[in-house]
């Protein structure tokens, strides 16, 4: 397969149906749609008395929608097609004057950030009207490589949400990161050859210096997007402007979801990039950016929405892309324009509004030959979950609750899941490892509460500081220990400065200790605490992953994330409850808002954000790219 894909330059979104026989399958689907549209065969579903949201003409028009074989076979508008008789249909839905809108598209998100597996994410997303999610999974890929990505794909397939998986472009985040895997352009090509049609595009290109410098491996990864279904390369370019932005756009990168100010979004639109207005859990950019659409609705054509990272409690209570629509409307954007940014615009961005051979792959509007992803809404305020959600013509959610089917996790997905359950490989650790001395004037992290950036400090005394450690957990530590790294010393001591980094942090006033297997982007085990014994207990209780809070020698709260150390195997509701309980326990242990006991942990190891981070080799200055001596 590999040579084939190389030869023809690009496969297509219908690549699950690439063979000549599958071509016949598409022809049969098209024939059925035509036969239904012409009244020769009965429809599956007929929606009557609907107020159809027509995103092409940005209007609401009363009419009927005919669905067959998972797609829209026809639309009949009362003002033009009143004479057309009702087609025969297996089921008639009387919309009673309610709105019928296209399903919502999330332009960019990380399922792992919701701490649930893809099939569980799907239930949550569908309940809030998202019917298509463009997912990037660098988190699981940093832990488990392409097998992790394969798990995401296979698990997502169990549920009726259409998830389009991007190929993570930057694994690991830096070449020398001690991550669980690395993915080169060559690896990408091999995976796509082995899994034709499964990869939709190249995920957010975070290696901006690699693009600006026209680095060979970076360009090879961008070129690998030719082999993906959409051929699209997604972007990530916070604050990039001028010549750098020209370079970034010239590389063929189609979108950015990192704009925080109007002029930044406008700069990118002028370079031909789409702007994704992000409204997530950590980042709330929509209110800042909405004025550009309110003032010039023509820009909606090239703007869409993204959640990026969404905690399950937020997703369950305020929603996802529907929440973005609600905020857009509250910011003064016309509701139909807002809906077009959640449907037609991302469909055009990703090339599946029109032109694909398979009608099931066309979407973003209610029109013949498009996938029947439909929302029944009481109004266009987006203040409540949709009354009904249909995915490819099947009812999948009612009144904010998932109402579809999820297939069992057997076969290949079961194998992959078992593999992910063994992702945390910690070395033996004596208590001595946690009892390192404070050296006056040494480099330390100062947390900026509520932000991902940190500041450099060199304190002269340990007052107000906490210990912070990063313990490699992908196998290097264990192998080094098995090879005798500790010699005759305490277990783990020989790993210090090689696979166990140790240092100090200010502004994280925990009483006791928190350990976590979620730590961007390599997801080694990070532990912060005021007591070495509590720290050791926390690490020992991490098990196969999650967040652990220990006080006075006892586990006070735990958020179990046994899948790759990133995702729970339980329902979103249970995860939200565990998460909320963990936050309450963190608050009781001294972590005050805006610092968050969960979110406040996960960026401390990320070595691509200023100014100081903890790495397995020790404290790292991310501005000068040097380790503390």
């Amino acid at each position: 397969m590999r040579e084939t894909a190389e030869t023809t330059g690009r496969t297509e979104a219908t690549t699950r149906t690439t063979s000549a026989a599958a071509g016949e399958h598409i022809v049969r689907r098209v024939k059925h749609l035509i036969d239904v549209a012409e009244g020769r065969e009965p429809a599956d579903l007929l929606f009557k008395n609907a107020k159809i949201v027509d995103v092409y003409r940005q209007r609401v028009a009363p009419g009927r929608v005919i669905v067959a074989g998972g797609c829209v076979a026809g639309v009949l508008f009362d003002d033009r097609d009143a004479d057309a008789p009702d087609p025969a249909a297996a089921e008639v839905v009387d919309c009673a004057g309610r709105y019928l809108a296209p399903g919502l598209i999330d332009g960019h998100l990380h399922i792992e950030s919701s701490n649930v597996r893809p099939s569980e994410y799907a239930k949550m997303a569908l309940a809030r009207g998202t019917t298509c999610a463009i997912a990037d999974s660098p988190e699981v890929a940093n832990v488990a490589g392409l097998a992790g990505l394969e798990f995401m794909i296979e698990d997502a397939r169990r549920a009726p949400l259409d998830v389009k998986f991007m190929m993570p472009s930057c694994v690991p985040a830096l070449p020398d990161e001690q991550a669980g895997a690395s993915i080169t352009a060559s690896d990408m090509r091999a995976f796509m050859a082995a899994h034709p049609g499964e990869i939709f595009g190249l995920g957010e290109m975070m290696n901006m210096p690699g693009v600006f410098s026209a680095d060979g491996e970076t360009l090879a990864r961008i070129d690998a997007a030719r082999l993906t279904a959409s051929g699209r390369v997604d972007g990530h370019a916070p604050l990039v402007a001028g010549g750098d932005l020209n370079a970034y756009a010239a590389a063929g990168i189609v979108a950015d979801h990192e704009c925080t100010r109007p002029e930044e979004a406008l700069d990118k639109l002028s370079r031909g990039m789409y702007a994704m207005l992000r409204e997530g859990t950590c980042s709330h950019d929509l209110a800042q950016l909405a004025p550009i659409i309110r003032e010039n609705p023509a820009l909606a054509r090239r703007c869409c929405f993204a959640t990026d990272d969404r905690a399950p409690s937020d997703a369950l209570t305020t929603g996802m892309i529907d929440n973005a629509c609600r905020m857009a409307v509250e910011a003064g954007i016309d509701p139909v324009v807002a809906l077009s940014m959640a449907t037609l615009s991302p469909a055009e961005l990703f090339g599946f509004d029109h032109g694909f051979a398979d009608p099931l792959e066309r979407r973003g509007a209610i029109a013949p030959g498009r996938r029947a992803d439909l929302l029944l809404l009481d109004d266009l305020s987006f203040t409540a979950a949709p009354r009904r959600v249909y995915s490819a013509g099947a009812l999948v959610a009612k009144d904010g609750r998932f109402a579809g089917m999820v297939a069992p996790a057997d076969g290949r997905v079961g194998e992959l899941e078992r593999m992910l359950r063994g992702s945390v490989k910690l070395p033996r650790l004596s208590s001595e490892v946690f009892r390192y001395p404070f050296r006056p004037g040494e480099l330390a992290i100062e947390v900026v509460p509520g932000q991902a950036i940190t500041r450099r400090v060199r304190p002269e005394a340990p007052d107000g500081l906490r210990r912070i450690m990063l313990i490699e957990r992908h196998g290097r530590s264990v192998a080094a220990q098995d090879a005798g790294a500790d010699g005759d010393g305490p277990a783990g001591e020989g790993l210090a400065g090689r696979h166990i980094g140790r240092g100090w942090v200010r502004g994280f006033p925990i009483r006791g200790a928190i350990a976590s297997t979620v730590g961007h982007d390599s997801h080694n085990v990070c532990v912060v605490g005021d007591d070495p014994d509590d720290m050791r207990t926390a690490v020992e209780n991490v098990g196969q992953g999650g967040f652990v809070l220990v006080r006075d020698g006892r586990v006070a709260a735990k958020l179990d994330l046994p899948l790759a150390g990133l995702m729970s195997d339980r329902s979103a509701e249970e995860v939200a409850r565990e998460h909320d309980a963990f936050v309450r326990a963190g608050r009781a242990a001294g972590i005050e808002p805006p610092l968050d006991p969960v979110m406040g942990m996960i960026f401390l190891p990320l070595p691509v954000i200023p100014e100081v981070r903890i790495r397995p080799e020790g404290m790292f200055d991310t501005v000068t790219y040097t380790y503390a001596s």
Copy 2:
């Protein structure tokens, strides 16, 4: 190659560069663009002091444009990037405050209708600012099959206009037409396999009954579009609405250029089809349709322009897509909105605004990583040809005159041209063949001057009638004659009713005779006259193609079209002069406006338009699909 294309579902617009080595070529181009954008390498061209037309934001903004390797490497806007220094450039163009706009895209046209060969068409189009033409060539394909199409592709390649050729979808127009070729879905696939990347999409699907009935061969042709560069299927659906329109859109057909009234265009937009507002030589729909954009500029997103058929004299004097822009502005549409319909909208329609791997294949705006197709304009009224036209960064026209290079017509294109010069194969014709009797009450054509439709009449007397004959010219007549069809009778008499149709026409008051090898869609020889001897002389003087007017036994005017009997081998200016002289001679011979001596001839044989036509078998009622007895 064929199996490869089948396997992967679709090739892409960059298919001339499909190999791994060509992938390296794309990467090199991207690297160069980035290096220029970052100032590490010099640009080819720097446009300074430009008013940049930014179709993404629908604004005009002062700034600079950097061009390298045929593409835009960067755009610097004075309000945001004033501090950026001028990059080094081999050539600096001081725009002196003039407008710099993207090159125009013609969404649908037939080069043959301009009666010039593609390389000559290119010169004319570029001079008027068209830098990309989506061409459908059913005319030459009806005469010479896929070899005719190959000639168009190879001849177009000689000139710097980027012509994207569609695969003609309906050759011949009816299954039993006596055309020069037929093209099945299987033929299409074989041609695309042998010419990877050369076919851009499937041309206008005129077989509407075939779509409505979900005919197998029709759907197989639509499915063949999966193997084209764009994957797009273009449409042709005059007056189609309701269930038929649903069926047509459900088939995956992306656009229509046949709308004549606002509600028709709006119906199609609501079904997810793009509307091409046509302004050609025979059809003038723009003034009727412009109000929908003036009243709701958001519709510009899904509307573009097309010339369809454009006589060279019109093209030379009033322009092509620039003429459509001018009329749009005169109709009250904002000039930048009009320009976006001539650039960004068709680019999005055909999937080459963004997402293709090769920057040379992206277009429709002035932005990094897009092809540098640029127009320098004094103003945005479109009343004059552009001051300068650049195609892929090369100057190709100045002040309405072509200023680029055309490669010699040698090699393969020369071979194909020689083949096309032998397309007219007429039988021996005695004068008796032309002297058939009038039978009172027989079915005859009544011309509707200025329209393609005709009316049925059954005159009782021959007053005001003219003889009309259609003579098969693709080889069947000659073969039948060689096989003894005439027996001992006059030459050609034995072909009557089989390969020579004879009848009468009212409303075409020619004195003398006109013969033509252009006659939609099969392009047999049509002759109309009041004198059998003049008719015979006209046919005898057709030679290898064109229009001939004979009066009193002498050739009074001739428009030579030796290439497939459709196209001249001379310049557009010469063709326009010959054409105008022919029209004057026709006027002198009794043809009054709005009847046109050229355009009035070419639709008389078209068997798919109401109500009566001439076919090689005789007079044909196109409403009842029966021959006159």
